[in-house]
């Protein structure tokens, strides 16, 4: 549905997006994740046809964004970072205007209007002026605007920003319900959002893609080892030496003893788990094993790891040059 090839965008001498390539399949929800200034908004603006890239190619819904922009724009619903609203218009008048310029069938404008209002929780707000709405409600109007022409493709720049927790959940549900018939790209800083709604994640930093994968794979694969939490009863005096005998165990640390047990943290490396070996060792040496669980590394940690690794690498390269 969307193919992006070697996209580069420069603002003067500053490169906002550099040689970005990816693909989104029909019906997929793709998350765009990255710190502030990573180039998410820039990429989305290029895909929506707001401005052209400096280099590279983007094909959306089978049309080249730079050569046939109108065809692309007909098929894309775009929610910019700041919802593009006219404060002096009522919600109804605004959505009607957007429906008209997006080319919604004249006879269907009314029904589309009602539908998106219900979907975005704006049922009662129709006659109200947009400038009188709260930020969260304005965000909803922005979302409604992107959906009004029932586009095949949705490009949503931070769709849940400014919404209350309940509404965030509703919007995520809404986005998930679009999957299948619609192709969605959304950007966010919120990591759980990505794992909850997206089938695939692109992590972008400093204008470059640092990882593309499913949320599960990213958290699994990138960890490269496990962190295991144990609760052990009995004397833990030589537990460190004991567990370090196990191959792949990197470090063992013992925490402050509690009433009847001591927490022990084991870090391992390598692809294969050694949890069973740890359990055997502990029980074999006559200690009581109350708990053994892996602490799963969160997407946050992956994110920080990836984005800082990148910086470290760059620094290393710069160091060599000097």
């Amino acid at each position: 549905m969307i193919q992006v090839e070697h996209l580069t965008k420069r603002y003067g001498s500053h490169t906002a997006v550099e040689d970005v390539s990816f693909e989104v399949r029909k019906g997929e929800i793709l998350g765009f994740l990255g710190p502030n200034g990573a180039g998410k908004t820039t990429t989305m603006r290029i895909l929506s046809g707001f401005f052209p890239a400096t280099e590279g190619r983007a094909v959306v819904a089978g049309f080249d964004v730079f050569k046939q922009p109108l065809e692309v724009k007909r098929r894309v619903g775009y929610l910019p970072e700041n919802p593009p609203l006219y404060g002096e218009m009522s919600v109804n008048a605004y959505l009607r205007f957007v429906a008209n310029i997006k080319g919604v069938d004249r006879a269907q404008v009314g029904s589309r209007l009602e539908e998106v209002k219900i979907r975005c929780g704006l049922g009662e707000e129709g006659p109200r002026l947009i400038k009188q709405l709260s930020k969260g409600y304005r965000q909803r109007v922005g979302l409604a605007q992107a959906l009004i022409h029932d586009p095949e493709i949705l490009i949503l720049d931070e769709p849940t920003i400014g919404l209350d927790p309940r509404q965030i959940i509703e919007v995520r549900e809404l986005i998930k319900s679009l999957a299948g018939n619609h192709t969605v790209i959304l950007s966010t800083h919120i990591l759980p959002e990505v794992s909850m709604t997206c089938q695939r994640v692109i992590i972008i930093n400093n204008g470059k893609i640092v990882a593309v994968d499913t949320p599960e794979n990213l958290t699994g694969q990138l960890a490269g080892g496990e962190t295991i939490e144990l609760e052990i009863g009995g004397s833990v005096d030589n537990i460190v030496a004991l567990l370090e005998e196990i191959p792949d165990v990197k470090s063992v640390s013992v925490g402050e003893p509690r009433k009847d047990h001591s927490p022990v943290l084991v870090e391992t490396e390598g692809a294969k788990t050694v949890r069973h070996l740890i359990a055997q060792k502990v029980i074999g040496s006559g200690l009581e094993l109350y708990q053994l669980r892996t602490r799963s590394i969160s997407l946050e940690e992956v994110f920080v790891q990836l984005t800082t690794e990148e910086e470290a690498k760059e620094e290393a390269v710069e160091g060599k040059v000097e």
Binding site: G49, F50, Y86, V98, N100, G103
Partner: protein, 262 residues
């Protein structure tokens, strides 16, 4: 067509919900009314004097078309008011879209630049008409009450001139508004451009060289004179229409290129 209409309606809506349009129209009516009255009084006084002198010295009054003088005076006031008010009419039209980020909606919708620009221009023209048409009341008063009545055709040509001049100024203002995201900056630059276009023929002198003729040709008010006299000359018509076309074309170029840079 539908895009154009949608764009125009939205623009009209935006213009008329903001107090700017009402202030503009109000000020325009107050000033045109006031100046019409002043011109009328002056012309009447002048004619009375003439008649009085003629009676005193037993000479005949020189031929003087009072109603035509009033209309000419009035049309020249109209043009001056337009020079001052058009920058306020156009300042926000694109600058404000850029500032609020709504340009992002417009440029990612299946609208051509032509539809966008013409829609906005048409809305401005409607506002211009809302300002101009009611002032015809003054002129109609003159038409019905003065003896002999000024020819209706002369008056209509004058209004056509004001309308074309207004259109050319609006197109220029629209272009300037596309260059910035600050309304005030747009208004000031627009006004500056108008002043240059207004006084440019003073710099040309009376020479007949190509440059001074060209400069005189560019003076936006030179072309207006004939209209106020009731003379319809296709040369001036062409001038204003090309001016409008150029303004709209430059706006389109500016939309394109600001897009490249952003």
């Amino acid at each position: 067509m539908r895009n154009f209409l949608a764009m125009m309606n939205k623009e009209l809506h935006n213009l008329f919900v903001s107090p700017i349009a009402y202030v503009l129209v109000g000020v325009f009516f107050a000033l045109t009314g006031y100046f019409f009255y002043m011109i009328l009084v002056n012309v009447i006084e002048f004619t009375m004097q003439q008649v009085f002198q003629a009676q005193q010295f037993g000479t005949s009054t020189p031929p003087f078309d009072a109603s035509a003088a009033v209309m000419r005076g009035f049309f020249s006031v109209l043009s001056t008011l337009l020079l001052f008010l058009v920058p306020v009419m156009t300042m926000g039209v694109l600058a404000e879209e850029k500032k609020r980020g709504t340009i992002e909606l417009l440029l990612t919708s299946p609208l051509t630049h032509l539809q966008l620009i013409l829609g906005k221009f048409a809305a401005l023209v409607v506002l211009l008409l809302v300002m101009l048409v009611p002032t015809m009341f003054n002129s109609l008063l003159l038409y019905f009450l003065s003896e002999p009545a000024p020819p209706l055709a002369t008056m209509m040509v004058g209004y056509l001139g004001a309308f074309l001049l207004g259109g050319a100024l609006l197109a220029t203002g629209l272009f300037v508004s596309s260059l910035t995201e600050n309304q005030i900056v747009a208004a000031v630059i627009t006004f500056g451009v108008f002043i240059v276009l207004w006084v440019i023929d003073a710099t040309a002198g009376t020479g007949t060289t190509l440059t001074s003729e060209t400069i005189r040709y560019l003076s936006i008010l030179n072309h207006y004179d004939d209209f106020t006299k009731g003379v319809l000359d296709s040369q001036h018509l062409v001038f204003y229409l090309s001016f409008i076309f150029l303004g709209l074309f430059l706006t389109s170029v500016s939309l394109d290129s600001s897009n490249w840079r952003q």
